[in-house]
Structures are given as C-alpha cells and as structure tokens.
C-alpha cells in the first residue's frame, strides 16, 4: 500500500498513552471509530479524559471504556443515553464537565483554527455559566468559553485516499471533521482507503494536512 500514514488498528491505538486527553467523534452510536474503541478497551489504557458528545450506551461504543474503568474525566454534552455515567459521577469515580452541544462544537473548532476563547450567548444566566466571565454584546449577555484541544483525536470517516484526505457518510460526519483539526495526533478509522485522485477534490471534507494516521478494519 502506498499509504505512508497507514497503521494497523493496534499500532494506531498504541499511540494513546495513559492519562491522555482523547477526542472521539460520535453522536450516539453513529459515526464513532468502532475498531479503535474496541482496541482501546482491549488495551486497558487508563486515566483517560474523553472529549465526546456522549458516551454511547452501557457497555457499548464509548460506554465500554467506562464499564472497564479506563476513564478519569469526561468533557461533553449529553450522558443520559448511558446511565452508568451519572452513577460513576455520583460515586466520585469520574469527573464530568457538561457543555452545551453547540458551544462544545465551536470550542473544538476554535482549538482547530487557533482561537483560544470566544463569547457566546448560549447558556448565559444558567447553571452552566457559573464561574464564567460574562459580557454584554449588542445588549445581550454572553459568556466566555475556552477552546477545547486534545492530545489525540480518534475519528471515523467513510473513505480516505492514500494521502489522508477524508470524506464522510451521512450523519456519521457529526463532530469528526472538527475534531480532526483540534488534536496533536489525529487517527482516522475509515471503511476504505482509495488511491490518490479517486476522491473528487470538490467533495473532500477533511484535507489530508489534518490527518496523521489512517487505519481501517481488520479483515
């Protein structure tokens, strides 16, 4: 294969160190890097901070990492699909930082494009604004939100070419393209790797500059 960025699933997941801050693309069980998460669960790597919209379901998807006691902290938006999160939080086994979903997405995008913080009207005056700087813009209270960066992003795309350009599939796109911009090491799990030139340049969503490692399902 003429793909310099290719690694096996196991070699790719070995890049995740204990205690790492990891971003994972997902919305429920749509668009998450299934094989990478399976391998991360098998690896037993611990003390992880997981930055993701939600945590799958109990024992399923990202939920496996919590069931396995590999998580120290969560940063995300919605954990009601996995009730094990509230239990672990109540028992003090993990910490959870809740962020409104649009703010979460923008904070990841901001990290990717070099903006350290931004003001947003979302959540102003609510419990989620406590401790955050507030300023009025156009007569509206806005709160200061900081960019969210990670050591590693584990993302899921539909196809990569051998350079690492990515295209996505339907609503499996979700947070993946922005996470691809916001981590030191970006590992993309794809369904298929195609020769350079096969993807229509007008349709490439993530340019290969953002992608460090490409991996795909084992046969």
């Amino acid at each position: 294969m003429a793909c310099e960025k290719y690694r096996s699933i196991e070699a790719a997941i070995a890049l995740v160190n204990p205690g790492a801050r990891i971003m994972v693309g997902s919305f429920g069980l749509a668009g998450y890097p299934r094989e990478l998460i399976e391998a991360l669960a098998t690896s037993g790597t611990r003390d992880l901070t997981i930055i993701s919209n939600d945590l799958g379901a109990p024992g399923e998807g990202l939920g496996k990492l919590l069931t396995n006691n590999q998580i120290r902290a969560l940063i995300g938006t919605y954990y009601n699909w996995n009730p094990e999160v509230a239990v672990a939080n109540n028992e003090g086994r993990i910490t959870v930082q809740l962020i409104p979903q649009g703010t979460f997405a923008e904070a990841i995008r901001a990290a990717g494009v070099g903006i350290p913080a931004f003001f947003t009207p979302t959540a102003a005056g609510t419990e989620l604004a406590i401790g955050k700087e507030t300023r009025q813009f156009h007569g509206r209270p806005c709160i200061l939100e900081e960019a969210i960066h990670a050591d590693v992003a584990l993302i899921k795309a539909h196809k990569a070419d051998e350079l690492g350009n990515l295209v996505y599939y339907k609503t499996a796109r979700n947070f993946n393209p922005i996470m691809a911009m916001a981590a030191d090491t970006v590992i993309a799990e794809v369904d298929e790797i195609v020769p350079v030139g096969e993807l229509d340049p007008e349709c490439i969503v993530t340019p290969h500059m953002f992608v460090d490692v490409i991996t795909t399902r084992k046969d």
């Binding site: 749509a30 809740l98 703010t103 923008e106 005056g125 609503t171």
Partner: protein, 227 residues
C-alpha cells in the same frame, strides 16, 4: 372540563404546531428544528413543501422516520431515530450545524419542557435527582433559534401545572419562550406578558386558570379560536 387522553393530547399539540408552520410557510421557506417527543411528531403533520427540517447532529432536509427494513444507523436525527432523506438534503459537521442555529438561520425550534414560567423562562434540561447528566443542544437551540415553541402537555403526569409563575428547576434559557402549545391552549409571549391565543372546546378560561399557575391575559381584539 373534559380530560383529554395523553395520546390524543400529544397528537393535537403536534397538529396545532404543524398547522401554524404550514400557515407561516405560505409566506416563504421555513427552516425548523424539532426536539424529541411531541416536537418530532410535528414532522408527521406538516404538509407544506416549503418547510425544511434541520437536525442538530448535522442534517438539513430530514424526512420521515425510516421504515422497518430500511434503517441506516448512520442516518439518524438528534433523538437517535433512523430517518430518511428528502430531495435536496445535505450533511454538515456539528459546528456548522450549531452555526446555523446560533447564527439565527433556523426560523423556529420546537422543544418540550418540564416548566415554562410567565417570564418566558424555560426549564427543560435537567431534573436534579442525580439520575440525569446532560444538556445536549437545548441551551443552544433556545438561545439561537429565531422563535422558540414549547410543545408540552398542560400539566405534569401528577397533575401539576407546567406553566408556572417562576421556574423551580434549573433553567435552559432566560425569557426565550415565544409560544406555548398545550392540548388545551395556545399562548404567546408579547412584550414579556403571557397571552392566551387559543382555547380548546373541552375547557373554559376559568377552568384553564385552575390548571395554570402562571398569570396570563386574554388576547385583545381577536376572539378565542377553537382548535
């Protein structure tokens, strides 16, 4: 006062909102976002081809729920239901999706609520009982969408008013509610005042006040509609 059974109540609320959107879509295209529960049911009743449904997980042009045997688990709405595409639909990342919402490009959002108070404050993201842990897109939607419609049954399952004087639960947004649609009535917020716009045939205004804690005014200049 005649009790309206739950299923009928939910269908009526969705139908009332769908008719409202169909009416608005006669003036031009309408981009709407539907929350889970009753709001999702609105999609079953809208008829205008000028209404486009946006899902915050990254889709514009959401169709009906996918039929059995045609489900694609990578084609879902924000409630994780498998859906279908409409002609001209598009996909985008979550930052773009919330950019549409925060940027004021989404005309209306329909959401459920635990409580709405007479100041237009909405509580719909958490009941602090230690079992819930999530906000999702609720705060982004109420602060970003141009119009916020609350679709909810008039009282809680235990019979308590959900339209209250002051929200007792943690709020999702301050003064963001524009309309409240229940099985018995339609209210709007006009200059910070809650105004009764429509009343169902099963109830009188006096009876409505007994199941509504919030103070409300009667709309002036127009007779009350019957749904």
């Amino acid at each position: 006062m005649q009790i309206i059974p739950e299923q009928q109540a939910r269908e009526r609320i969705a139908l009332t909102i769908a008719r409202y959107f169909d009416g608005r879509a006669r003036q031009g295209q309408l981009f709407i976002n539907l929350g889970v529960g009753i709001p999702t049911m609105v999609a079953n009743y809208v008829t205008s081809p000028h209404i486009f449904i946006q899902a915050e997980n990254g889709m514009l042009g959401v169709g009906c729920a996918a039929p059995e045997g045609h489900m694609d688990h990578d084609l879902i709405n924000a409630g994780r239901t498998c859906v279908t595409e409409t002609p001209g639909c598009s996909y985008f990342d979550s930052a773009t999706s919330f950019g549409m919402i925060r940027g004021g490009h989404v005309d209306a959002t329909v959401i459920g609520a635990f409580e709405v108070d007479q100041h237009g404050n909405i509580a719909n993201w958490i009941i602090p009982n230690g079992k819930q842990l999530g906000v999702g897109g609720a705060m982004d939607l109420v602060s970003g969408a141009k119009q916020v419609l609350i679709a909810m049954q008039h009282t809680s399952k235990s019979g308590r008013p959900k339209l209250v004087k002051e929200c007792s639960l943690p709020i999702t947004g301050i003064g963001e509610a524009d309309m409240v649609i229940t099985e018995y009535a339609v209210f709007t917020f006009d200059s910070g005042r809650l105004v009764l716009r429509e009343l169902s045939p099963e109830i009188t205004v006096e009876e409505l006040r007994t199941i509504t804690e919030a103070d409300f005014e009667l709309s002036q200049g127009a007779a009350l509609h019957k749904t």
